[in-house]
Amino acid sequence: MQEYIIRRILYTIMTIFAVATILFFIFRVMPGDPTAQVISPALDEAAQARLKEAFGLDKPLIVQYVLYLKNLVTLNWGRSYTTQHEVFGILKYRFWNTIFLMGAAMSFTLVVGAGLGMVMAWKRGSALDVGSTVSALVLQSAPPFVTGILFLMILSYRLDLFPTGGMATPGMRLATGIQMLFSKDFLHHLVLPTITTAFYYLATPMLIMRDSMLEVTGSDFIELAQAKGLSPNRVMMKHAARNALLPVFTVSSVLIGFALGGQVIVEQVFSWPGMGQLMVEAASSHDYPVAQATFLLLAALVIFLNLISDISYCYLDPRISVGGGKH
C-alpha cells in the first residue's frame, strides 16, 4: 500500500514537471521570433531590445529554461510582464476567487446531482426520473456560454433579479476572507455563475448515481433490509445510497478537473476575476510568467485531485486491492 502511494506521488511529480516543460516550450515554438509573442512588434527595435533586457528574454533559451525550473521549485515565479506584480501574489488572489466559485458550483452539482440520482433510481420510470434525465441531458449539451448568457439575459437584464457580473457591486470593496464569503452582495453575485456551472455538469453525477443505485437496489442486503421491516426511506438513504455513492466519488475528481478547465468561459461571461479570466488576459497580453503559472497551477490541481481520489479510493472501498496484495 505504502509503496503504491509513494509510486503514485512520484508519478505525479514527474507529470507536473513534464507539464511545466511543455508549457515553457509551447509558448516559445509559436511561429517566428519567439519574443515577438511577448513584446508587441508595433514597438521599434530599440524599445523591443529594452523590454527583452528587462524581462530576461535576451538570454539564450536554455538559460531561460534552467532559470524557469529553478524559480519553479523555489516558488519564486517572477513578475508579470504587464503589471510588474509578483506572479505568486497575483495567483493567490485569483486562485481563491476561482476556488470560491468552483466550491459553490461543485457542491451544488454533487449534492443535487447525487440526491436527484438517488430519488430517480428509487422511483424508476416515474415522471421525475424521465423528466430529470431529459433536462439534465439538455443542460449538458448546452455549453455554459449559452446558458450563462441566457441566464444573464433573462434573470439579469430583463427581470433585474441578479447583477450582470463581477464579484461585488461596483464601488463596494469586498471585505476579506470569511466576511466576504458571507456578505449578501458577494452571495448575490455568486448565484448565476454557480448555477451556470452546476447545470452543465449536473448530468454526470446524477446519472452515475442513478445507475449505481439501481445496481445496489438489486442486491441481497437491500432485500434483507426491506425484509427486516425498515422504512423505505431508511433503506434508501442508509443502506442503498451509501454504497452507491462510491462511483460518484470517483467521478467527482475527474469532473472537478474538467470544470476547472471549463471555468475560463464562465468567468469570462460573468466577468469573474478568477484564474480563467487571468489566463485569457495573460495569454492575450503575452504575459509569459503569469500565463505559464496559471496553466501550470490548473494542471497541477487536476493532477493532484486525481492523486487524492486514487489514494482515497483504496481506503473507501475495501474490495480494491493495490500492489497485488491478497485478501
Partner: protein
C-alpha cells in the same frame, strides 16, 4: 473541450507550414518582374479573423469580390492577428493587408502617418512602412516636415506630403471609423469628447459633473487596468489610466492641439532650443512641491533606464538644464518637430524624491519591473485602491491647478463589450472607456437616458499594398484599385454607418493638419478601367493582363 482539440490540430498545421515555408522561400524572396502581356497574378488580402474584429474579414471579402469587376482574381485570407503582424510587419511576406490603424493620441501629430508609414527608411523589420514604398519625393517632404519647428511652415509641408501620399496610394484609406462611446445622461453632464477617444477621454474625466449619486463616476472597461508604472508604460492603453494620476508637461487637447499643462508656457529659442516655464504651486500627491529639479530628473531617469516608449525620442535630447526653480532649457541634438506632442505631451513627470531610490532600495533590479503600487504623481486624480482584475478607484486631487469636477472615478472591469453595454443599460455604470462595438451602440441608442454616439476619430481602416510585388508595384494599378473599393457599401453594411469614407491619411477630423484638397476616390469602375487602359493593361476574355 472541443476547442482545445481544434486548437492543437491547427497549431500543428501552422507550425509545420511555417517551418516548411521558411525553408523553401527564405527571407529574401525575389519576385520575378511581370511577364509583358501575361495575365495579372491572382492575389490575397491578408486580414484578421472575426474573433478579433468581425469587420475585417467581411471587408476583405467585399473588396476581393469588387476586384473581380476589373478582371483581377483576389481572395480574402483571414488569419490570426498575431500571424498578420508576423507576416506583414516582420517578414513583409504578403500581397495586401486590411488593417485598422487606430486613433491613438500619439498619431494626431502627422509624423506617424506621413514619415513612419511612408518614408523608405521605415521599410525594415518591425517598421511601419511595410508597403515597401520607396519614393524619393515623398522621402524628402516626410523628412522636411519632421525637421520643421515652425508650425505654420510645417503645416504647408504636411499638406504637400498628403497630396503626394494620396497620389502614391501605398495604402488606400477605406473608412475613418468613428469612436463609439456611451454614457448615461441621467448620471453625468458636461461630457467633453476628445478626438480619437470620444467620451472615454482624459478631458471627459476632468470635466464631467455627477448629476446624481455619490460623486464618483463608474466607468466600465472591457479590459483590466494593466499597470501603474509610468516608466514602464509601453502602449497607449497603458497611458490611458496613468494620465489621470501623472501629469505630462503638455497634453493633447480635445481637438488634437497641444495644451500647455505642467509647463505653463514655452518659447522656441531656435530650431534646437526650447525654454519651458513650469507651472508654479504644483504639488505631488504626498504634498511636496513639483519643481524644475523633478522635470530634469524625469528626463535623466527615463534616458538612463531607456524608457521603452520614449527612448528613441529621448536620444534626440542633448541636455536639460535647470535655469530657475521653475524653468528649464531643453537642447536638442537635431531638430525634431513631433518633439512636443510625442515626448513632452506623453512622458509623465515623476517625483525625484521617490524615484531616486528605485531600483536601489526596492527588491527589483530594473525599474521596468517595479509595480509602483502606491503611485505618487501630480495629476488631477490620486489612486485610492486597485483590486486587480476587478476595479480601481481614484479620487480628485483638490490641490491640482485643474481639479476634476467629480469626486473621482471607479474603473470596473467586465469580461466583454456585451457585458459593458449591459452594465450601462442597467445603470450599474455611467459610461465606458475605449471603443464599444458599433452593433452594441445601435442597441443602446434605444435605451432612455443613454447617449450612444460616434465621435470624430483620426484612425482608419486601410487596405495596404505590397508595393514591391507586381502588379502592386505600379502606382497606376494601385490608383485604379482604389477606385474599385466599395467604400459606401462597406460603411453602410458592415460598419453600421458609423464611419466616413476615407481619403487622406490625415483624417478630416484632425482639423489642423488635414489637407481638404485631398479627396476620397469615389467608387467608379469605368474610371478604374480607364486608368488601367491608359497604363497599357488589356483584357482577354474578361481577365486583366499586364501591358505588352
Amino acid at each position: 473541450m472541443n476547442e482545445r482539440k481544434i486548437g492543437r490540430r491547427e497549431f500543428m498545421k501552422l507550425t509545420g507550414g511555417i517551418i516548411g515555408a521558411s525553408m523553401i522561400a527564405g527571407p529574401a524572396a525575389v519576385f520575378a518582374a511581370p511577364k509583358p502581356g501575361a495575365q495579372v497574378d491572382a492575389m490575397k488580402i491578408t486580414t484578421a479573423t472575426a474573433t478579433m474584429d468581425p469587420v475585417r474579414p467581411e471587408v476583405a471579402r467585399v473588396c476581393a469580390d469588387a476586384f473581380k469587376q476589373i478582371g483581377w482574381e483576389v481572395k480574402a485570407d483571414p488569419i490570426d492577428y498575431n500571424l498578420n503582424v508576423q507576416k506583414v510587419i516582420m517578414e513583409h511576406d504578403y500581397d495586401m493587408w486590411f488593417v485598422m490603424l487606430s486613433g491613438a493620441s500619439i498619431r494626431i501629430d502627422p509624423n506617424v502617418f506621413i514619415y513612419q508609414v511612408h518614408h523608405s527608411s521605415q521599410y525594415k523589420k518591425g517598421g511601419y512602412n511595410w508597403y515597401g514604398l520607396n519614393d524619393p519625393e515623398i522621402d524628402k517632404v516626410a523628412l522636411a516636415q519632421q525637421q520643421e519647428m515652425d508650425i505654420e511652415k510645417r503645416r504647408e509641408i504636411v499638406f504637400k506630403a498628403q497630396e503626394l501620399c494620396h497620389e502614391a496610394q501605398a495604402l488606400t484609406v477605406v473608412a475613418y471609423m468613428q469612436m463609439t462611446t456611451v454614457y448615461r445622461s441621467d448620471r453625468i453632464k458636461n461630457v467633453v469628447p476628445m478626438l480619437g477617444e470620444g467620451t472615454g477621454s482624459f478631458w471627459t474625466d476632468i470635466n464631467m459633473e455627477v448629476v446624481q449619486g455619490d460623486g464618483y463616476v463608474r466607468t466600465a472597461r472591457p479590459t483590466p487596468l494593466k499597470m501603474l508604472n509610468p516608466v514602464a508604460a509601453k502602449d497607449t492603453t497603458e497611458f490611458m489610466e496613468l494620465r489621470m494620476i501623472y501629469d505630462p508637461l503638455f497634453r493633447v487637447g480635445p481637438d488634437g492641439n497641444m495644451v500647455p499643462w505642467a509647463a505653463e508656457s514655452y518659447k522656441v529659442v531656435d530650431q534646437l532650443t526650447l525654454d519651458l516655464n513650469i507651472r508654479k504651486g504644483m504639488l505631488w500627491h504626498d504634498g511636496k512641491p513639483l519643481t524644475a529639479e523633478d522635470v530634469k530628473f524625469t528626463f535623466d531617469y527615463c534616458n538612463q533606464w531607456k524608457h521603452p516608449f520614449f527612448y528613441q525620442i529621448l536620444k534626440r535630447v542633448e541636455s536639460v538644464e535647470i535655469t530657475g526653480p521653475h524653468s528649464v532649457r531643453i537642447k536638442l541634438a537635431e531638430s525634431y518637430a513631433p518633439f512636443i506632442p510625442n515626448l513632452l505631451g506623453g512622458m509623465f513627470l515623476i517625483p525625484k524624491h521617490v524615484w531616486q531610490d528605485i531600483p536601489e532600495k526596492v527588491d527589483v533590479s530594473d525599474p521596468l519591473n517595479y509595480p509602483n503600487e502606491k503611485p505618487i504623481g501630480s495629476g488631477p486624480f490620486k489612486l485610492d485602491y486597485w483590486d486587480r482584475g476587478r476595479e480601481f478607484k481614484v479620487s480628485a486631487f483638490k490641490e491640482h491647478f485643474n481639479p476634476p469636477k467629480c469626486a473621482g472615478i471607479i474603473g470596473i472591469v467586465y469580461g466583454s463589450h456585451d457585458a459593458v453595454a449591459a452594465a450601462i443599460e442597467k445603470g450599474e455604470c455611467d459610461r465606458n472607456r475605449y471603443i464599444l462595438k458599433p452593433s452594441l451602440l445601435l442597441d443602446l441608442q434605444k435605451v432612455p437616458n443613454v447617449v450612444a454616439k460616434g465621435y470624430p476619430n483620426h484612425g482608419f481602416y486601410s487596405l495596404g499594398y505590397h508595393t514591391r510585388r507586381p502588379p502592386l508595384n505600379d502606382p497606376a494599378f494601385r490608383k485604379a484599385v482604389a477606385h474599385v473599393i466599395p467604400k459606401e457599401l462597406i460603411i453602410e453594411a458592415i460598419l453600421s454607418g458609423l464611419a466616413d469614407p476615407g481619403g487622406s491619411v490625415i483624417a478630416p477630423a484632425n482639423k489642423f493638419w488635414h489637407n481638404p484638397s485631398v479627396q476620397s476616390f469615389p467608387e467608379d469602375i469605368n474610371k478604374a478601367k480607364k486608368i488601367l487602359a491608359d497604363a497599357g493593361y488589356t483584357w482577354k476574355s474578361g481577365k486583366l493582363h499586364y501591358p505588352a
